[in-house]
């Protein structure tokens, strides 16, 4: 790597990236604009929630005015305003002559402390930087660096069906736009994310395909077809210590066929066939994976099935589900923890959102927390409003369809908090937790 003028390149690219930041911010607001206009159309056709309250602080359409989205109703103490305008940057002029002499290993130390997206942006501006991201020394070093922190990845499609992706960094409270033009042009949707990889599945014409990608490295790969290659419920899990990943395919998406469970292993690059899930009338799409076990919620009857990766077999877990549970979501925590999240009481005014944890020994759901009423009311204005719930590492995130707000529950610390600086357009987008990692390989 050229030493002389190297930091000039870095500086040059940092300058460009602050321009880039402006253009990113603008394009962010333009995307907001276009997707907000499409969401406005959707709102109209759905005639859901017509309360004027829901339009408080909704996105203004001028691309140049600073975008302000209120993320909480009046009265709560938490942060109120998310801004997508130009972030305030204190410009530091890095003196090229000084930093040009920095040895590579120390450069790695510094890069490891930059938020992944900063490196990502510098890369997209300056071609010479591509090489450092492929550099084995850098990748090996970076794989030992602790995670940047929880991020949310949101995926949606613009009106002409162009895929868009943004990542919200919780530690930095900032949005980063991720170019998704590197992905193939089929109609795909988000399956999930694990260990730095993101999995999509969809239809390429009539063929059902699955792909994995690393958004940070802009690398991707289509997986081979399954034995029973149709639209199925999928979940991807990454083993970072093993540098491999697996994809598990369970039931048919419409739940009307009994299919053998298939498992894809990146080490063999093959799908293997396993037990057919014992007949259940309807399987939900709610799955969670922890401790080499895949848990799946069945709807009719409401119950819990578990698939063991090591044996390839399903078992029924006879844990009784709470009565009058609505919209139960399964969320995996750290180690062996499994949570159930859902609402109790559809028509009663005393509806509440509760969290249970599976006691593996007693085979029972034990209530561990309840969403405080003020958050519940703020999140779901109408009791019948839909919400999404997902989690990672003992963090459970709630997003509400119509309001674009995110609520976070930290199971360990028992703290509820709004995700500040974040406005999610859940009604036509998918969200999941994401861990940005340079060294997550699609192979």
């Amino acid at each position: 790597m050229e030493r002389l003028g190297f930091w000039g390149l870095l500086m040059g690219s940092v300058e460009k990236s602050s321009d880039c930041r402006n253009s990113v911010a603008l394009s962010e607001s333009r995307d907001e604009e276009s997707s907000s206009s499409s969401s406005k159309q959707v709102k109209g056709s759905r005639s859901r929630n017509t309360s004027p309250l829901s339009r408080v602080g909704s996105r203004n359409t001028s691309p140049l005015r600073q975008k302000v989205v209120k993320t909480k109703p009046r009265g709560l103490e938490e942060e109120t305003v998310a801004s997508f305008g130009k972030p305030i940057v204190v410009d530091v002029q890095m003196e090229d002559s000084i930093w040009a002499m920095l040895p590579e290993d120390l450069l790695n130390e510094i890069l490891a402390r930059l938020p992944p997206f900063m490196i990502f942006r510098i890369r997209s501006v300056c071609k010479k930087w591509n090489s450092i991201l492929q550099d084995n020394g850098f990748l090996k070093f970076h794989s030992n660096v602790s995670s940047h922190g929880p991020c949310l990845l949101t995926f949606w499609k613009n009106s002409p069906q162009i895929p868009q992706c943004s990542v919200f960094s919780l530690p930095l409270k900032t949005w980063y736009k991720v170019p998704f033009t590197f992905l193939p042009p089929w109609a795909f949707w988000l399956v999930g994310s694990s260990g730095g990889l993101v999995c999509f599945s969809g239809l390429d014409g009539l063929t059902f395909k699955t792909l994995v990608c690393n958004p940070l490295m802009q690398s991707w790969r289509t997986l081979p077809s399954m034995h029973y290659n149709q639209q199925r419920q999928l979940i991807m899990v990454v083993d970072r210590s093993d540098k491999s990943f697996k994809v598990i395919a369970t039931s048919d998406i419409y739940g009307d066929k009994s299919l053998p469970t298939e498992v894809y292993d990146s080490k063999t690059d093959k799908w293997s066939l396993h037990q057919i899930m014992p007949a259940v009338n309807l399987c939900s799409s709610k799955m969670a994976y922890c401790d080499s076990r895949l848990y799946l919620e069945t709807l009719s009857p409401l119950g819990l099935m578990m698939y063991r990766l090591d044996t390839g077999h399903w078992e029924h877990i006879p844990a009784k589900f709470p009565r009058s549970l609505l919209d139960g979501y399964l969320v995996a925590g750290t180690q062996k923890r499994l949570f159930l999240v859902g609402r109790i009481g559809l028509y009663s005014t005393l509806q509440s959102m509760r969290i249970w944890e599976l006691d593996h020994a007693k085979v029972a759901w034990v209530e561990i927390s309840r969403m405080p009423p003020k958050y519940f009311r703020a999140l779901l204005r109408l009791s019948a409003e839909r919400f999404e719930c997902f989690g990672q590492d003992n963090l459970i995130c709630f997003t509400s369809w119509n309001q674009g707000k995110g609520l976070l529950y930290n199971v360990d610390k028992k703290i509820w908090s709004w995700i500040s600086g974040c406005a999610l357009q859940s009604c036509n987008s998918q969200v999941c937790f994401y861990e940005p990692r340079f060294d997550a390989s699609v192979h």
């Binding site: 040895p103 120390l106 510094i110 930059l114």
Partner: protein, 113 residues
């Protein structure tokens, strides 16, 4: 007490506990080659003085609360010019003082981002 000699001939006498924060110096002490002071050919007097200032503060956790130490670190790192910062990184790496290397590299990362 341990004597450190900078590349430009300055000598610094410091307590062993302070000096041992450098893994490099700790190894030298173990190998018992510190009779006539430890020559540090890669570190100038100016930089060595700064490092000693840091190490003195960080002996046994700094004697204050963690918060106070953080504030001190912040002041320490923000009031130096880029040339000094650069040299501190090289020196912290050479002397193998992990916490100082952390602090300095994070500072550069923050300056870039």
């Amino acid at each position: 007490m341990i004597v450190l000699k900078s590349s430009d001939g300055e000598t610094f006498e410091i307590e062993e506990a302070v000096a041992l924060q450098s893994q490099t110096i700790a190894h030298m002490v173990e190998d018992d080659c510190v009779e006539n002071g430890i020559p540090l050919a890669n570190v100038t007097g100016e930089i060595l003085a700064k490092i000693i200032e840091y190490c003195k503060k960080h002996v046994e956790g700094g004697g204050g609360s963690e918060e106070e130490l953080k504030i001190w670190d912040k002041e320490f790192i923000e009031n130096i010019d880029q040339s000094t910062l650069f040299n501190l990184i090289l020196a912290a790496n050479y002397l193998n003082i992990k916490t100082l290397l952390d602090l300095t590299c994070q500072r550069v990362a923050d300056m870039i981002s």
